[in-house]
C-alpha cells in the first residue's frame, strides 16, 4: 500500500568538536545569568561557505536533472516478469507467470493484492521481485490485477470481489491445475479478501498465506505508536453518517485521494523524500532508478468502489466485525473458525500502515490447528522489496508450503 518513503533518519549535523574559543563562546554557562544575553547557537557557517555549498547543491541538482533525462522507458519498466492473461471479467485480469527453468515443485499459488494499489509491487524490479523469487524456487505463480474501477463499478461490494471475481479466478486456477484446492496468498486488503474467501469457501483452499493483513482492526487501540496506524485513527474519528455522506457524494474513492492520504501519513518524511533525501541519491544511478520505479508504482492508485469503502470503514475499521465473526457478506457470516486449513500469517516488523498489533497474535482466532506467525524486517512495502526482507520472505513461504505439501488431489477424485 503506502511505501511513502523512508522517514528522515539523517541526524542532520555532523557533530564536530568545536575549537576552544568557539566552544567557550557557545557555552550557555559563559553567559552571565543576570544580563541573560541570548545564547549563541553552535553554527560554524560563514557566508562564503554557504554560497559555496549552495553552488555545489545546485550543480548536483542540475546534474541529477540531466541524468533523469537519460533514462528510457525500458529503464523504468516495472512488473517485467513474463506472464499470460488466463482469465478476464470486467476490469479484473488473472495472470499466470511463465515458469522458469527451475525444477517445479508442483505447488501453485494465487496472489491476491489490495485494491488501493497495483499488483506490480510484487514484481517491482528484476532483482527485487517477489514473484521472480517464487518462480526461481519452482512455484507456479498466478496473480490478480483488480484493474481500475470506473463509476459503473461504484456499487461493487466486498462480497462481489470475494464471492464473484475471486471465486471465479480460483475456479480457473483449479481447472487449469486440475486440483480441488489452491494455495491462496493475500496481501494487506487482499489478505482480508483471502481470509473472507477461505472462511466462505474452505473447500477450495488448501493453505492460506496472509501478509501485512489487519485482522483485528482495533488492535492498535491502547497500543498507539507515533506515526503508525493513521488509517485506523482517521476512520474511527469519523461518524458513520460522515462515511455515508462521503461515499454517497464521491461514488468511488478516487485513486489520487487514496494516494494523498498515504502521503499524509508521513508528511515530513514525504517532503524530505522529494527534497533533501532526493539529493542524496542523485549521483547514484541504481538508487535513482529504484526510486523512480517505486514512484511509478506509488503514483498509480486505482479508484476504489464506493460500497467497498463504505464496508471497509464502517464494518472493519469502525465495527471490527471480521475478528468478532460478525462480518456478513451477501447474507453469509464470515466465520474465522471455518478456516481450518494451515495458515501462515506474515507481518512487517516496521509496518506503520497496518500496525503489528492489528495483525499479530491471531492464533486463537482461526479454526486452524496449524498456524504459523512470522515477522519480516521492513515496512508495509519494504517487506516485499527491501533487501533484507527479500532474503526472508519468499524462502520462508516456499519452505512453509513445501513442508506442508501433500500429494495433489486431482479434481473430481
Amino acid at each position: 500500500m503506502s511505501a511513502t518513503g523512508s522517514r528522515s533518519r539523517k541526524a542532520g549535523a555532523r557533530a564536530a568538536p568545536a575549537s576552544a574559543p568557539a566552544a567557550a563562546a557557545a557555552a550557555p554557562a559563559a553567559a552571565p545569568a543576570a544580563a541573560k544575553p541570548a545564547a549563541a547557537l553552535p553554527f560554524a557557517i560563514t557566508p562564503d561557505a554557504m554560497l559555496k555549498e549552495l553552488a555545489a547543491l545546485r550543480d548536483k541538482l542540475a546534474q541529477g536533472a540531466k541524468r533523469l533525462g537519460d533514462f528510457t522507458e525500458d529503464d523504468l519498466a516495472i512488473a517485467t516478469t513474463p506472464a499470460d492473461e488466463v482469465y478476464r471479467e470486467d476490469m479484473v485480469r488473472l495472470y499466470r507467470c511463465r515458469p522458469t527453468d527451475a525444477k517445479r515443485k508442483g505447488i501453485a499459488v494465487l496472489i491476491v493484492y489490495a485494491l488501493v494499489g497495483r499488483y506490480q509491487m510484487i514484481d517491482l524490479e528484476t532483482d527485487r521481485s517477489f514473484v521472480r523469487k517464487l518462480l526461481a524456487e519452482g512455484i507456479d505463480v498466478y496473480y490478480l490485477d483488480w484493474g481500475n474501477p470506473t463509476q459503473a463499478h461504484r456499487w461493487l461490494t466486498i462480497d462481489d470481489y470475494v464471492s464473484g471475481y475471486l471465486d471465479n479466478c480460483v475456479d480457473v486456477v483449479r481447472e487449469r491445475e486440475g486440483i480441488e484446492q489452491i494455495n491462496l496468498m493475500g496481501i494487506c486488503q487482499g489478505g482480508i479478501f483471502s481470509t473472507c474467501y477461505a472462511a466462505l469457501f474452505p473447500e477450495k483452499v488448501e493453505r492460506l498465506i496472509l501478509t501485512v493483513t489487519p485482522i483485528d482492526f482495533h488492535g492498535d487501540i491502547g497500543a498507539q505508536v507515533r506515526g503508525s496506524g493513521y488509517m485506523n485513527l482517521w476512520a474511527r474519528s469519523l461518524a458513520p453518517a460522515d462515511i455515508d455522506a462521503l461515499v454517497d457524494s464521491m461514488g468511488n474513492s478516487p485513486g489520487t485521494s487514496i494516494g494523498f492520504s498515504f502521503l499524509m501519513m508521513n508528511p515530513i518524511g514525504n517532503l524530505a523524500k522529494y527534497s533533501i533525501e532526493l539529493l542524496d541519491i542523485l549521483d547514484d544511478d541504481q538508487k535513482l532508478l529504484g526510486f523512480l520505479r517505486m514512484e511509478r508504482w506509488i503514483s498509480d492508485r486505482p479508484n476504489n468502489p464506493g460500497e467497498v469503502v463504505r464496508q471497509w470503514f464502517k464494518d472493519l475499521y469502525q465495527g471490527n466485525k471480521l475478528v468478532k465473526n460478525e462480518l456478513v457478506l451477501d447474507g453469509r457470516v464470515v466465520d474465522l473458525k471455518r478456516i481450518t486449513m494451515p495458515v501462515l500469517n506474515i507481518y512487517a516488523e516496521g509496518d506503520v500502515v497496518v500496525p503489528n498489533s492489528c495483525s499479530q497474535g491471531m492464533q486463537g482466532r482461526f479454526g486452524s490447528k496449524d498456524y504459523t506467525e512470522l515477522g519480516v524486517p521492513g515496512g508495509h512495502i519494504g517487506t516485499f522489496v527491501g533487501g533484507k526482507a527479500q532474503k526472508i520472505l519468499a524462502p520462508s513461504i516456499v519452505k512453509w508450503l513445501t513442508e506442508r505439501k501433500r500429494s495433489r488431489t486431482p479434481k473430481g477424485a
Binding site: 542532520g12 557533530a15 557557517i45 489520487t256 533533501i276
Partner: protein
C-alpha cells in the same frame, strides 16, 4: 493508466514542498513567494520522457528554487557572526500568528449568505444597481416564471447560496487544520533550538546549512505526528472531511438542478442504472451457484476461452 492521472498526485504534493520549507525562512523571506524553478534544474521535456521523469525533474526544479531562497534568506543572519535562537523563535511565532490571523475572518458566520433577504444586498455589492433590477424581475416575472417551468432558476439561486455557505465552512475547517500544522512546526522549531543549545554546551557545531535543514525536518516530524494522531488533530481532520463532503454535496445539488432543467441525465439517474446492473450481476452469480457442478465447469471453461 494515463500519465495525466499518474501525474496529478505529484502536482498536488510538490506544491506543498515550498510551502513547508517557507516555515524555515527567517524574516521577510518567509512572506515572499517561493522562488521559481531555475533553468539549471529544469525538467526534461515531458513528451520525450518516461513517467515519472518529468515529474521528478520538476520537483528538482522546485527544490532548487527553495534552496536558493533559503540560503539567500540566511545569508544576512550568518553575516552577523553570532546567531541566537531569537530569530528562529520569532519565525515560528510568525507562522502560527499568520494562521491565527487567517482564521479570524473565517470564524465569523457569513450572516449575509444563508438569508434570502440578504441576497439582493450581496448581489448589489457585486453589481451596483442589481438589487433594484432583481426586485423588478422578481415582481414582474416571479409567478410567471414558476408557471412556465422557470422555477429551476429560483432553485439554482437557493442552491448557489447554500454552496457558498458550505464553501466558507470548508475554508474554515481547512484553516483550523493548517493552524494546528503551523503550531506543530513551531513546537518542532522550539525543540530544535533546545537541541542546538545542548549541542553548543557539548562543544559540537553545525557546519552546513543543509545539515541544519535536515535537523529541522527531523525536529518537526515528531510534533506533527503528535498533533495529527491525537484529539484536536483527529477532530480537525474529521472536520475537513465533513466540510469538504458537505461542499461537494452542494455542488452536486446545483449541477443536479441544472441537469434536470436541461433534460440531461443526472448523477442520481446514472448511479441508479449502475446499481441495477450490479444487482443483475449478483442475481446471475446466485443462479450460477445454484447450478449443478458440471454446468458450472462448462461456464468457467467458456469464460476462460473468451479470455
Amino acid at each position: 493508466m494515463s500519465d495525466d492521472h499518474l501525474a496529478s498526485l505529484y502536482a498536488g504534493w510538490t506544491e506543498v514542498v515550498p510551502e513547508a520549507f517557507r516555515m524555515l525562512m527567517p524574516g521577510a523571506a518567509s512572506a515572499a513567494n517561493p522562488a521559481a524553478p531555475s533553468a539549471s534544474a529544469a525538467a526534461p521535456g515531458r513528451a520525450a520522457t518516461p513517467f515519472p521523469v518529468a515529474q521528478i525533474g520538476a520537483t528538482l526544479g522546485v527544490f532548487d528554487g527553495v534552496l536558493t531562497q533559503l540560503y539567500q534568506s540566511y545569508l544576512p543572519l550568518f553575516a552577523q557572526g553570532k546567531v541566537t535562537a531569537e530569530p528562529f523563535e520569532a519565525m515560528a511565532q510568525t507562522a502560527s500568528k499568520a494562521f491565527d490571523a487567517m482564521l479570524l475572518p473565517l470564524q465569523q458566520t457569513p450572516v449575509g449568505l444563508p438569508s434570502a433577504d440578504a441576497w439582493p444586498t450581496l448581489s448589489a455589492s457585486a453589481l451596483p444597481g442589481a438589487a433594484q433590477l432583481q426586485l423588478g424581475i422578481e415582481r414582474t416575472f416571479g409567478g410567471l416564471g414558476e408557471a412556465f417551468g422557470l422555477g429551476p432558476a429560483r432553485q439554482l439561486q437557493e442552491a448557489w447560496r447554500e454552496m457558498l455557505v458550505a464553501s466558507v465552512a470548508k475554508q474554515r475547517a481547512q484553516a483550523e487544520y493548517l493552524a494546528l500544522v503551523a503550531q506543530a512546526f513551531a513546537t518542532g522549531t522550539t525543540t530544535l533550538m533546545r537541541e542546538l543549545q545542548a549541542m553548543a554546551a557539548r562543544g559540537e557545531r553545525v557546519e552546513s546549512l543543509l545539515a541544519f535543514i535536515r535537523m529541522w525536518a527531523k525536529a518537526v516530524d515528531a510534533p506533527l505526528h503528535d498533533a495529527m494522531q491525537h484529539g484536536a488533530g483527529l477532530d480537525a481532520t474529521a472536520k475537513v472531511i465533513r466540510a469538504s463532503t458537505a461542499h461537494r454535496q452542494q455542488v452536486q445539488t446545483l449541477v443536479g438542478i441544472a441537469s434536470t432543467a436541461l433534460h440531461v441525465p443526472t448523477r442520481d439517474d446514472m448511479s441508479e442504472a449502475f446499481r441495477e446492473i450490479q444487482e443483475l450481476k449478483r442475481e446471475l452469480r446466485r443462479l450460477k451457484r445454484a447450478l449443478p457442478a458440471a454446468a458450472q465447469k462448462k461456464l468457467v471453461a467458456r469464460k476462460e476461452r473468451a479470455a
